[in-house]
């Protein structure tokens, strides 16, 4: 664990140097990459470590975005709004987890996917509070310059990513992480061995929601205009999964590597194939799934694998 921690410190320190380039484009890209990293690492808690195919990332992201946005609309300072979004996402994940985590496999996947849709519809209809389909404008942050603003959000995402990574590292090397591995390998055997499967699964689900919620809130403040189909986009859930698949299993840095790799591919596609970018994205996903090395196809054996200290 120590070694991973030091590598992470180095990695994050390097990334922190990015704003020195002064290029707005690179900072925007970097901020997005860090956000993607948060999504991928968060998914890893429930999808990788516990082995439950969750598509709930979009739900948490959208919930966080709107919570943060609405809080700010009512005058709450940004930082508090973000924290509030995280707390709400945490609570929501707890309740949702208790309800959904007794389902397995496809049923769980679908239910988690559907939650985002339901939330989107609900937010859409609460026009008074959220602006509904017209979207919501956030107060533009009062900062000295556009450049300072860009740096601010970059560092905010960096901090969030670092915290998420720390949480992942600590969990993986704890009794919780070990228990989750047991659950992922054989849930009923884990139950018989004394693992409180409900507690552990819900904990993993809560971890998979809280950081995504904060990321959503930060995103909302960053772009200062959001609308339901934008932040409750199921594509966020799919991207998180694909990033973890891409980055490879078995290493703490897999999700981050996957996020970086995915974003690079995505940027390439955006710049060159604007008209067909969803199609090419789809193609990427298809190729990834079909041509992952054989070993990764036995995903359930490999993801989240961690030796005991």
């Amino acid at each position: 664990m120590k070694r991973d921690a030091w590598i992470a410190v180095l990695l994050f320190a390097l990334v922190a140097l990015l704003p020195l380039s002064g290029e707005a484009y690179w900072m925007r890209l970097g901020t997005t990459m860090l956000m993607y990293g948060v999504l991928a690492m968060s998914w890893n808690f429930i999808g990788g470590m516990a082995g439950y195919p969750s598509f709930a990332v979009a739900a948490f992201f959208g919930l966080g975005a709107y919570t943060g946005a609405v809080a700010q609309k009512f005058g709450m300072p940004m930082g508090f709004a973000w924290a509030g979004a995280g707390l709400l996402a945490l609570a929501f994940a707890a309740l949702l987890g208790l309800a959904l985590l007794r389902l397995r496999g496809h049923y769980f996947a679908i239910a988690s996917l559907v939650v985002a849709e339901v939330l989107r519809e609900l937010v859409n209809s609460m026009t008074g509070l959220t602006g509904g389909g017209m979207g919501l404008n956030l107060p533009i942050p009062a900062m000295a310059s556009v450049d300072i603003q860009a740096r601010f959000f970059f560092y905010a995402m960096l901090l969030l990513a670092a915290v998420t990574f720390a949480a992942m590292l600590l969990t993986a090397n704890s009794k919780l992480g070990f228990g989750l591995r047991c659950i992922q390998q054989n849930e009923s055997a884990a139950d018989m061995l004394g693992v409180d499967t409900t507690l552990y699964k819900v904990s993993a689900f809560m971890l998979s929601g809280v950081f995504v919620g904060v990321a959503g809130a930060v995103y909302a403040s960053w772009v200062y205009y959001i609308e339901p189909p934008d932040v409750f986009d199921v594509l966020y859930s799919v991207k998180a999964i694909v990033m973890v698949l891409l980055g490879g299993a078995g290493s703490m840095f897999g999700p981050l590597i996957g996020a970086a790799a995915f974003l690079s591919l995505e940027e390439l596609v955006w710049r060159n194939y604007l008209q067909v970018h969803t199609g090419v994205l789809g193609l990427m996903i298809v190729l990834l799934v079909l041509f992952l090395p054989k070993g990764l196809l036995s995903l359930s054996q490999r993801l989240g694998r961690r030796k005991m200290p």
Partner: protein, 290 residues
């Protein structure tokens, strides 16, 4: 006003028949080979476009388009399964969902490019009008669509219960290993089943084209309905899809009356989640895969 309720009920049942048709193919694929075909909804839309352009450019009536759609979509489904889905047939749920999701993105994008994103509506000329049943009024096009949908569903049912291939499919659904030991070529059955599933989707397209506007992004809405119907009626069985479809149709009809049509999706999804929590094996109690 009982008449109003009767009318709503009738509307719901008519809609339900259509829904049953949409869902039966989806349910079959899920129940037999444990694959959720995210493309299902978009194939329905593709079938609708087929009927639309066939009518517009060649004057082919949508009812006839169904006959064209059947072999075309069967072939597409069979090929798709053979080439791609079969490679990951035993992979975790995650991978099959992600794969079909990616394919769906490609199909949707393709349709946007080919047909543009605006809504298209197939308007029959001359229109079929309405028919009066006692004091109720039913549009003939919907009624005809329902009848045809039921016919298609019945055809699928007959295939499954009477033909050799159908018996093999049911055998694989019940116990894959045992079926293989009995000499059933399981990969071929998988391809056939997938072909049938996509065929049902594509063939319902023309029916839906007559009633609803067509949009390249309309797939997920139909997919959502198919999910709900599967959970309501249980997996892999045509009668289950029938029951689920009718229930959903009626629920949506009354839901539109009481809560307004904008909340149709929320309503059906809430129903889905409730069913998953209370009775994941469906109203008919048919056990499917997890």
């Amino acid at each position: 006003m009982p008449l109003l309720y009767l009318q709503i009920l009738a509307n719901g049942l008519v809609l339900g028949g259509l829904y049953a048709c949409i869902a039966s193919g989806f349910s079959l694929v899920w129940g037999v080979q444990n694959v959720i075909n995210i493309l299902h909804g978009s194939f329905i839309v593709l079938g609708a476009y087929l009927a639309y352009f066939a009518y517009l450019q060649a004057g082919i009536h949508p009812f006839l388009s169904i006959l064209i759609a059947i072999p075309v979509f069967y072939a597409i489904g069979y090929g798709l399964q053979r080439m791609m889905v079969n490679r990951i047939i035993d992979a975790p749920v995650l991978l099959t969902l992600t794969l079909t999701f990616g394919l769906d993105l490609m199909l949707q994008n393709g349709m946007i490019l080919a047909f543009t994103a605006d809504f298209k509506k197939l308007v029959l000329d001359p229109p079929l009008g309405t028919i009066a049943l006692g004091e109720m009024v039913l549009p003939v096009d919907r009624l005809a669509a329902m009848v045809l949908a039921l016919a298609l569903t019945a055809m699928l049912y007959l295939i499954l219960s009477r033909s050799r291939i159908g018996r093999a499919i049911v055998a694989v659904r019940m116990d894959r290993e045992a079926a293989a030991l009995m000499g059933v070529n399981v990969p071929r059955i998988y391809a056939i089943t997938f072909g049938l599933g996509v065929m049902m989707a594509g063939a319902s397209g023309p029916l839906l084209a007559m009633i609803f506007p067509i949009s390249p992004l309309g797939g997920p809405a139909y997919l959502g309905k198919a999910f709900v119907i599967c959970v309501l009626g249980g997996l892999g069985s045509v009668p289950g899809a029938m029951v689920g479809g009718l229930v959903l149709g009626v629920v949506e009809s009354f839901g539109a009356l009481w809560f307004g049509p904008e909340h149709a999706i929320t309503l059906s999804f809430t129903l889905l989640i409730l069913m998953l929590l209370l009775r994941p094996h469906g109203l008919l109690g048919r056990k499917g895969y997890e």
